[in-house]
């Protein structure tokens, strides 16, 4: 990748020396992958909106050029939905944590999958709440065997299965330790017409001492080349088969775009809002 092109994504951003992630945090890999992907996609920063979640992960929005918004914990998908409905010409990506997306924001996640707005969600899944210092997130316990589940410790949410069950049209999985592959997934996600979800495994080196880089390297495996991502049943089978073998599939697991209605930018400027004739409305009240 040309260093000059990458540099575009470093302007208007918090400088590298002030990035507030722990050294070695998996989110660095996502940041690097994002820059590569954005260069490859030839997106310009002013047409990009980065919607961050609340968490270590969501801070990525400030470490990269582009417009950024950041509201409530669990909220990014719904803000992004509004942005995209208002102006479909914008490139919108949500960058959130697993707590953000699958705990407090799970309602937004399920319904955004169903709505299928043309945007990307990249979840930096580390199995913990990083920013609040290591409590279990709904994806906690990946790869650990458990004898008894309880109300306090229920089985983990599998983001991929949840997305499939929620009628998502693009589901991919990546590992931030593999920057090149993650970048590839981001590119494909942007190219997907509809809602594209990437579950990225992004190790929390401080609080998740089990799902380490080494652990992931041992457990990830690329999606086999003969997998047909447009086949929903095959996607389910793939995830189940990998789980049975204690493995994690990386790659595009499901991709099946839905027909889309053409969307236009909503009226914004004075000129577009003048000359409103409400006569047809009044006629219904006479």
């Amino acid at each position: 990748m040309e260093p000059k092109a990458i540099k575009v994504w470093e302007e208007n951003a918090v400088p590298k020396h002030r990035i507030q992630w722990c050294p070695g945090c998996g989110d660095f890999g996502v940041l690097a992958a994002l820059k590569q992907a954005l260069v490859e996609l030839e997106i310009t920063p002013h047409e990009l909106v980065l919607v961050g979640g609340i968490g270590c992960s969501g801070n990525i929005r400030n470490y990269l050029n582009g417009n950024a918004f950041h509201g409530t914990h669990g909220g990014p998908l719904a803000y992004a939905l509004g942005i995209k409905m208002a102006n479909p010409h914008l490139q919108v990506i949500c960058l959130a944590g697993d707590g953000d997306t699958f705990a407090i924001g799970v309602e937004n996640f399920v319904h955004t999958c169903r709505r299928d707005p043309d945007m990307v969600l990249l979840v930096m899944n580390n199995g913990v709440y990083g920013l609040t210092k290591g409590q279990d997130s709904p994806t906690a316990g990946l790869g650990k065997s458990v004898e008894v589940w309880s109300e306090e410790h229920p089985p983990m949410v599998d983001p991929v299965l949840l997305a499939l069950a929620s009628e998502a049209t693009f589901v991919a999985q990546s590992f931030s330790g593999d920057v090149k592959h993650t970048a590839r997934m981001i590119v494909e996600a942007f190219q997907h017409p509809g809602f594209a979800f990437i579950n990225d495994f992004s190790p929390c080196v401080t609080y998740n001492k089990f799902n380490t880089y080494e652990w992931f390297r041992e457990h990830v495996e690329p999606v086999p080349p003969d997998h047909d991502p447009s086949d929903r049943d095959a996607a389910w089978r793939l995830v189940r088969d990998f789980a049975r073998r204690g493995k994690i599939p990386l790659g595009v697991i499901y991709r099946n775009p839905r027909p889309r209605a053409e969307a236009r930018r909503l009226p914004v400027w004075e000129g577009e809002l003048a000359d409103v004739d409400v006569e047809p409305i009044l006629a219904t009240f006479r």
């Binding site: 047409e47 950024a68 409905m85 009226p267 914004v268 409305i281 006479r286």
Partner: protein, 629 residues
Amino acid sequence: MSGRANRVKVLVGGVQLRDGVSTVTEILGRIFTRAGLFAVAMERGYASTIYGAHQYDPILVADQPPLSYGDPVYDVLVALEYDSNPDAPEQPNRDTVLRHGPNLRDGGILLYDSSTGEIPTESLRARGVKVFPVPARKIALTELKREIVKNIIMTGALFRLLGFDGDFTHLRQLLEERFGRKGRDVVELNLRAAQRGREAVERVLAEQGYTLEVRLEPRPRGRRAVYISGNDCLGIGAIQGGVRFYAGYPITPASGILEFMERWLPRYGGRVLQGQNERESIRAAIGASLAGVRAMVGSSGPGISLKVEEFGVIGATETPVIIVDAQRAGPSTGMPTRPEQGDLNLVTGGAHGDIPRIVLAPSTVEECYTLMLEACELADKYQCPVFFLTDLNLSEGRKTVPEDLFAQRPPIRRHGILREEEVRGRPYRRYEVTPSGISPRVLPGTPGVVFKSSGVEHDEFGFVTIDPRKRAAQMDKRMRKLETYLREDAKPPYVFGETRGNPVMVGWGNTRPVLQEAREILLRRGIPVALVHFTHIYPLPKHLVEPLFADAGPVVVVEQNYSGQFADLLQRELLIRTRRVLKYNGIPLYPTEVADAVQRALRQEGAVVRIGSPEPVKVEVGGDGAEGH
């Protein structure tokens, strides 16, 4: 009738969903409006259960615009129930007659559907009430073979009683517009039904020898008028005010706004989102606003509570959003179909920390339109949440409104949005500290510039900070908007009469017409009371208001909630003592009871007078729905 010709108050009652109460009042309201009269149906009596509860809809019609919907005294009672409870040993029609009979004026008229028999009306007759049993359902079923026309039979009967539309010109026209497409037969069938109703009344008149004193005369009106609800008016206001994104989650009484917007906004290039919950709705509106679209959400108490988290986001990220709160009675799910002014504390204080915000409350159906235009501009200019407080009666109540109202439309101004040429080549600070507190924004997609916007405390560029000086500077900047607003845009309250030396009645929001009428009653009683009524609620324009109270007599705040939320605000802001008149039983305020209560409150320093009358509706145990919606 009631000594005043051309002014009649009719109450139509029946079984919810079955009897078509609101269909009848809708037809009446429209026809009266077309005939050049003024109709007001602002009190909506219904329950949360969908089927089977008692429903009533009073409609006041006059040849001059009535001030308010008035007291619960009726000239005519129309009972549409032919048999409200077939299993009960009591007579049919018991609900409307039992509940509202006591409020029928002596010498008034009772019209009821006698299809399953006549009901005992001795006590009413003893009060001079003229009783008109019309077996509408029976006629509809046996003669006209269509049960559905029973309400038109009753309408025809009512028109005869009011001496109105003798040749059914108006009714015919409305029917032709409604059913014309279904064929002449349908129109003719309905007209025959109306004729049957008229004949039934003639028969009773002949038998009983009653004479009718009322004649409701159509009057030619120069200007066109519509019969319209507050929700619809604020919807038109939002469209004319440039709102092009609306999001809502169904809730009474705000659902009407969602339905209006779903029907109309797309035709003006906008989009409507039925959120999957309250949070998705308001968040999507924030997103749309961030992208530059004027965005609005609507809800009621329970939904507004769920949105509180986002009030802070809107305040801190300085993203304009208009939030309509069509109040209903709380707390919790409360009484979904009953009016209250109980959300003031929620919208003036909801959110952790401090945010700039503006709270407006229209006082009439017309103001739902005009004030909404203002709300759209204010949200844009101040980049903060603008709350718009209506309530059940105002939202769903209907009124005759001259159409030239909607020709009032100040030009839209997109305030403080920088275009490409204004930002090119200089560092852009989204949260620049400015004397006005307003920082110009850019929209995403503006070539050559990006912004960082965040609800976490940030510096001028939008990056996270906990630097105490930057924090203070941002907080000051944001809150300074309110000073600018107070200086440039806040409007004084309505003032009726002279406050100096006189007792002052104070109100806010939709109660203005009732309070104006209460004031006239008090004046007639020799009490020289002034009325100060607020639409611009928060921040309170102290500099405009203080002089009004400086030399005033005792101040009585009248509102529809338990504690006197506005009285608290007034006391806090102006450091004055208030007396309070409060009603919170789910029934709207009526002019005479307000006048009485204010009179009582004036007798004692610091008085709190609670209006607790259960009138006019006798609620029976389990008689009204308890389900939420």
